[in-house]
Amino acid sequence: MKDKTNSGELLRDTLDMLVLKTLTRSVMHGYAIAEFIEEATDDVLRVEEGALYPALHRLELRGLVAAEWGVSDNNRRARYYRLTAAGRKHLSAESAHWNRMTAAVARIMEA
């Protein structure tokens, strides 16, 4: 179940964090999450959209998000994701870690 390489894991963790952060705004379906990430980053972070789904299911299995079937604006059956309490906790830990990391990297790059 684990990815084979460490670099993959790094990417994977980042994607997970972005998804969780996105879900703090509201309950969303997969397409909306993809749209939001792309728009918010001005298409800088154009993840392969399909990769989002394994990520969402992985987060669901870890109990960080919960999923429910609902009906979309255009009346189609869609799967909606919601952040769980565990997910919120995980996100705050991850973002603290991320902030420390980026700050450290930035210090080196600016030096």
């Binding site: 179940m1 379906h29 997969g30 397409y31 993809a34 392969e48 959209e49 399909g50 990769a51 789904y53 394994p54 299911h57 992985r58 669901e60 299995l61 870890r62 109990g63 079937w69 979309s72 255009n74 189609r76 059956r77 869609a78 799967r79 565990a86």
Partner: protein, 903 residues
Amino acid sequence: MSAWRTNVWLRLRALMHRRAFDRDLEDEIGFHLAMRERTQQKLGLTPDDARHAARRQFGNVALLKEDTREMWTFVMLETLWQDACFAARTLRKSPAFLAVVVLSLALGIGANSTIFSVLNTVLYRPLPYRQPDRLEVVWETELSRPNSQESPAIADGADWRKQTHVFEDIALTSFTEVTPMAGDGGGEQARAQYVTPNFFHLMGVSPMFGRVFTASEAQDLSQTVVVSDAFWKRRFNRDPKVLGKTFKVSGVVSTVVGVMPPTFGSFYGGPLDMWVPIDADSARYSERKDHWLIAIGRLRPGATQSQAQIEMGAIAHRLEQAWPATNKGVGAKVQPFHDALYGGMGRNLYPLMGAVVCVLLIACVNAANLLQARTETRRTEFAVRASLGAGRRRLMRQLLVESGLLGLAGGALGIGLTFAGIRLFRAIAIDFPEAERLSVDIRVLLFTLAASLATAILVGSAPAFQAARADLNLALRAGERRTTAGVAGRRTRHILAISEIALAMVLLVGAGLTLDSLFRLQHVDTGFDPANVMNFDLSVPEGAPYVERLAGGDIERVSPLVAAFYRRLLDKVSAIPGVESVGTISPFDFGGSFSVLGRPAPPADKMPSTSYRVISPAFFRTLRIPLKTGRYLNGSDLPGAPWTAVVDESFARRFFPNEDPIGKRMRLRYSDMDEKQPRQIVGVVGDVKWYLADKGPTPVVYASYLQQGSDFRGGNSMTILAQTLVVRSASGLGPHAAGLVAAVKKAVAELEPDQPVFGIETMEQALARTIGDSRLFARLLEIFALIALLLAAIGIYGSMSYFVTERTHEIGIRVALGAQRGSILGLVARLGLKLSLTGVAIGATLALGLTRVIAQLLFGVTPTDPVTFAAVGLGLLSIALLACYIPARRATRVDPMVALRHE
């Protein structure tokens, strides 16, 4: 819900609704693609282009679906399942291997589960009462002998009850007693438990209907009784109006007031008909000499056994001071009820459990040995798989899964054997408590599962490690296989073969010792001739017209009608055709003290004591007990004549070491009353053993039933009332036994229609029953040892066969170079001898240490009996060599041409 539980739950749901899961995933991705397509169209793309763009942007749909799906499954479990399927297929390809391994494991596991089910029933299963662990038995103990324990005097029990604070309540109860009953439907021997009225409440059971006893319902002439479900069914055909029905128990009119549920029975699970009330405060027991009820107390919540011990000790001390005549030096001892019932059973059962564990170990070693050999022949297969990229862990897991399957298959078959084993156990067991309640319950099943898994790990780990260590290069170079087939593998196999022999040696020594004991027990010189003798137990009822209770209730006066009844019965039975001789003897030994007339009287507590039996004069002749000096009792020893007695040799030896006892006069004192007249010793007879396992003879005085007093204290009138009729058949028993039984019953019925006759068995059966436990133990050990021997022989045979196959090439060269048949035989035999000698030596050492635990169960042999050790060792050696012979002979027939071409 914790994270991992959510995780497992979600996965399980996905596993159960796999189709729905796939459809949902399809839908979710479909929705995404449609949305993207719509956005693209809004940007002005044609529908076709929009669809392609959406797909492109999404990535490989099939792969992502696969990734997601895999995330939801139990990868471990599924590969495990694949391994299991693969293992099943490979195992099916070698059915002979499969059969031998599974069968030997099943034998080992089945033997374990059978003995475990016995342990479970008598030692581990909680007793069927309310909070059974709060129940304690209180014994009287002699303070000078702290290990002694005795049932308390009834009046002492009553005092304990009044003075205790640690116990909620204390009840007194007998074990199952037989007592004659009479009523509509004829007389029979009822099995009754005498209890104080609080007994049922204390045990925490309620009647199925009716009521239990209220405070005091035991009267001299009438009483109430509570009957068992079985008795209600048998005697009253489940009549719902049974309450209020009456019958006589021991001559006392008894009214049924309640029926207990079928789940409540006697302590050891044997049949029980009714509960009869006892009034512990009755003046009848005021002498404090009736020690036939046990005291059971229920601890108050929070109270402990040690608190109870302290309190009961203090109460006993007060009673010592209040009743010095009877209670001086008497303390109290508290013991958990379960221990009191079954504590002694472990002594027999744990060695048996040890024996079956031994059997299972041998079976495991056997299976490991076979599996090991198989792994070696599969080295190429493993090497190929390893070189194709199979990880070592995967290979090890493969082998462990294989042994796991073998273990589970053995366990499944073992459960079947357990049912058979329980049936066998019941067939061998005589009088074993709870034998009827033996069953395969959930605990036995769990035990079997655990045993199977442990077996699998034991069997599979050696080959698995070997496979993991396999050297690819060596294994793949096929030509070298024959000469280098793993020195380590060979050594493992030799160690396994040696340990099998060693384990078998331990078991065989144990079995040899117990069988030797059993043989000695069965050939004990009993001092009489038990062949062709039939026993019948009789007991005239303890009420009118035979017994009258005198005012005060403590003294029972036996009517002369009793002696008249037996006298007429003896006449009638001796007139039955085919009866050579008939006599009677009191089945209970009411021993007592005595004084020899003309000798200075010793102090009261130093009076010599002896066993005392009431007989009819023809008793000695009937059992052919030899006369040593003087004369037997005879027709002249009548009520009016001076009273006489015959003593046995050990009595004469102990009390008249340097004089002739004949002519000496003594006064017997039993039931705490001196006999009315002194008795003159008129003869000395040989010693008799009624129990085969009796260590030494005890002094016995015999006196005629015609020369007896009439007044007895308490229940002591039973000495006179109950008699065992011993009938010697002139024509032998066998086919004539049934006719004899019918004729004796008819003779009894003609004299007293309601009089039950019970305990009908041959004297030889009665003797065999006295060593029932030893017989059971020896038989079971014998069976287990035979299984062990068989398995060990298979193991040796397997090892030697493999040795020969492995060296076919080498032997071929030797033969081609002119080696003689004898030297080839010698090559194989030397190895066989070396392995089995080592095994026997190790086994003998182990056995020397282990047989000590069965020392108490042995009779007439020491646990280190050199003859047994030597015989078992030699026997095992010769069987091992026999198992070598077949492979060895095959080795001598090796055709050098075939062997050399066998590349």
